[in-house]
C-alpha cells in the first residue's frame, strides 16, 4: 500500500508557510508577529542568533513533518537563508519535493 505523503491532503500555500514561520519566530524571539515580514533579515532586523534559527528549524520540522512525510530541512542550507522570504521559498520548495 503506498505511504501517505501528507496527512490532510492539501499542500500548504506560500502564505500559509509565511504565517507559520511568522508565528514560530514571534514565539521564539518574543516579538510581535507584525515585525516579521518577508523582507525581514534574521540577524539585522530580528536579532535572531544561531540558536533561535535552529529552534525555528526544529519547530518547522515538527509542524510540517506531521503534515508531510519526509519533510526535513538540510542544515547545510541554513547559511543561505538570510531573510524570512528566503526561508519561505526554501520551505515551499522542500514541501514540493517531499510531496513530489
Amino acid at each position: 500500500m503506498p505511504a501517505e505523503t501528507h496527512m490532510d491532503g492539501s499542500p500548504l500555500s506560500r502564505d500559509e508557510v509565511l504565517c507559520l514561520i511568522r508565528e514560530r519566530l514571534a514565539e521564539i524571539l518574543e516579538i510581535e508577529e507584525d515585525r516579521v515580514t518577508l523582507a525581514s533579515s534574521f540577524t539585522e532586523d530580528l536579532d535572531a542568533d544561531s540558536l533561535a534559527l535552529i529552534e525555528l528549524v526544529e519547530a518547522l520540522e515538527e509542524d510540517l513533518g506531521e503534515r508531510t512525510v519526509g519533510f526535513t530541512i538540510d542544515d547545510d542550507d541554513l547559511a543561505e537563508l538570510r531573510t524570512v522570504g528566503d526561508a519561505v521559498d526554501y520551505v515551499v520548495a522542500r514541501l514540493e519535493r517531499a510531496q513530489g
Binding site: 514565539e27 521564539i28 524571539l29 518574543e30 536579532d47 542568533d49 544561531s50 540558536l51 535552529i54 529552534e55 528549524v57 526544529e58 542544515d75
Partner: protein, 345 residues
C-alpha cells in the same frame, strides 16, 4: 507527566515517583562517576528512578549484576564533546546520550534532565526538546552561592546566555526571584543588579538600560557589586551569562586559594600542626557548605521542564545530589511556579 503516586511501605506520606533522565556520558568522570551517582540517588532518595542514556557497552558493565528497580538504560551511540558548538551538536547528534536523555523528558518517560557535560549543549538540548516557558526569550542558569552561616544567594545567569538584552535580564530577575521563593523558602526575595558600583547610574550601557526596567520588579534593591557575593545582603544577583560565569569561576578560584592558604598555614610549624588537629575537623565541617558537590548542580530556568546542569568535574556525590535537586524541583512544580510568575509580570 507520567509520575504515579506511590505509598511507601514505611508508613510515610505518599510521594510522587520522579524519573530523572541522565546524560551518562557527560562530564570529565563519565560514565563511571555519573552511573555511580545515579545508583546512589536511587538507593538514598525516596521514589526516584533514573534513565541512564549512553552506549550500552559503556553503561551496562557499571550496573549491578541483577536488574534494579528504578534504573533503566536508554541506548545512545553518540556523545556530545565539551568543545562542540552546542546547538549544532544537539541538532546533528540525535543519537547522543544528551539528546536521548532530553528526548526522554519530552516524551514523558522522565520528568527531569541532569547533565554534567557540555553546558551550552545541555541548555540547547533542554530548550529544543522541552521547549521554553512562554514569555521567556532565553533560559538562565541559577546557581546557589553559599553564604557562611546563612541561606545561599542565587546568581542568575551563571553562564547560559552570554549576550543579553535588557528585557532578558528583567526576565532573569523575575525567574530568579520566584525560584528563590520556591527553592530557598524566601517569602519576598530581594534582587540586585550586578554592576561596577552601587550608584544607580553605574555600569555599562546594558546595566544603565536595564536599571529603570528592574525598578518595576518587586524586590529590586538596586545595584550590587562583586564584593556582595557571599554576604547575604541580597537574595538574587542578576547579570548576563558572561559576567555571571566570570563571577562564578572567580568565586570558585578565590575559595580554593583561601582554603589552600589556611591549610598551608596549619602545616607550617609544629605549633600550627598541633592547632590543626583541633581546627581542621572544624574547618572541614564548615567548608562542607562551600563544596559544590553538596549542591549537585545549577537549575536551568526558563525551559518548560526541569533541567539541572552539573559541573563538568562532578563526582558521584555531586550527581546523586543533582538528581535529588531535580526531583525536588519536579515535586515543587518549579516550572509551573515560574510560568505563573512570568504571566503575572
Amino acid at each position: 507527566m507520567s509520575a504515579a503516586t506511590v505509598a511507601s511501605g514505611r508508613g510515610k506520606t505518599p510521594t510522587t515517583r520522579v524519573t530523572v533522565a541522565i546524560d551518562a556520558m557527560g562530564g570529565d568522570k563519565a560514565p563511571d562517576e555519573i552511573v555511580s551517582g545515579a545508583l546512589q540517588a536511587v538507593e538514598e532518595l525516596d521514589d526516584v528512578a533514573v534513565l541512564l542514556a549512553g552506549p550500552e557497552e559503556a553503561i551496562a558493565p557499571l550496573l549491578p549484576g541483577r536488574a534494579r528497580d528504578g534504573v533503566e538504560l536508554v541506548p545512545a551511540a553518540e556523545i556530545v564533546a565539551m568543545d562542540e558548538e552546542p546547538a549544532v551538536a544537539v541538532r546533528t547528534k540525535r543519537d547522543s546520550s544528551l539528546v536521548r536523555a532530553a528526548q526522554a523528558v519530552r516524551e514523558g518517560r522522565a520528568q527531569a534532565l541532569v547533565g554534567a557535560g557540555n553546558t551550552g549543549a545541555t541548555m540547547a538540548a533542554a530548550l529544543l526538546k522541552m521547549g521554553r516557558i512562554r514569555g521567556i526569550a532565553r533560559p538562565a542558569i541559577a546557581v546557589p552561592i553559599p553564604v557562611p552561616g546563612a541561606r545561599p544567594q542565587l546568581l542568575v545567569d551563571a553562564g547560559s546566555t552570554v549576550d543579553c538584552t535588557a528585557e532578558w535580564l528583567v526576565q532573569f530577575a523575575r525567574m530568579g526571584r520566584e525560584y528563590a521563593r520556591t527553592r530557598l523558602g524566601v517569602a519576598e526575595p530581594t534582587v540586585g543588579l550586578l554592576s561596577n558600583g552601587e550608584e544607580p547610574g553605574k555600569g555599562d550601557e546594558l546595566r544603565k538600560e536595564v536599571f529603570p526596567l528592574l525598578e518595576k520588579v518587586d524586590g529590586f534593591t538596586g545595584n550590587v557589586e562583586g564584593r556582595d557575593f557571599m554576604h547575604g545582603g541580597v537574595d538574587v544577583i542578576v547579570t548576563d551569562g558572561f559576567t555571571g560565569n566570570v563571577a562564578l569561576k572567580s568565586i570558585e578560584g578565590a575559595l580554593r586559594a583561601a582554603v589552600s592558604l589556611v591549610f598551608g598555614v596549619l602545616e607550617s610549624t609544629p605549633d600550627a600542626r598541633e592547632a590543626g588537629k583541633v581546627l581542621v575537623p572544624l574547618l572541614l565541617d564548615a567548608a562542607g557548605a562551600l563544596d559544590p558537590d553538596e549542591t549537585g548542580g545549577a537549575t536551568l530556568l526558563g525551559v518548560a521542564g526541569v533541567c539541572v546542569i552539573s559541573h563538568g568535574s562532578s563526582s558521584a556525590r555531586a550527581i546523586a545530589n543533582a538528581v535529588g535537586l531535580a526531583a525536588d524541583c519536579v515535586r515543587a512544580d518549579v516550572v509551573g511556579r515560574l510560568r505563573e510568575a512570568v504571566d503575572a509580570g
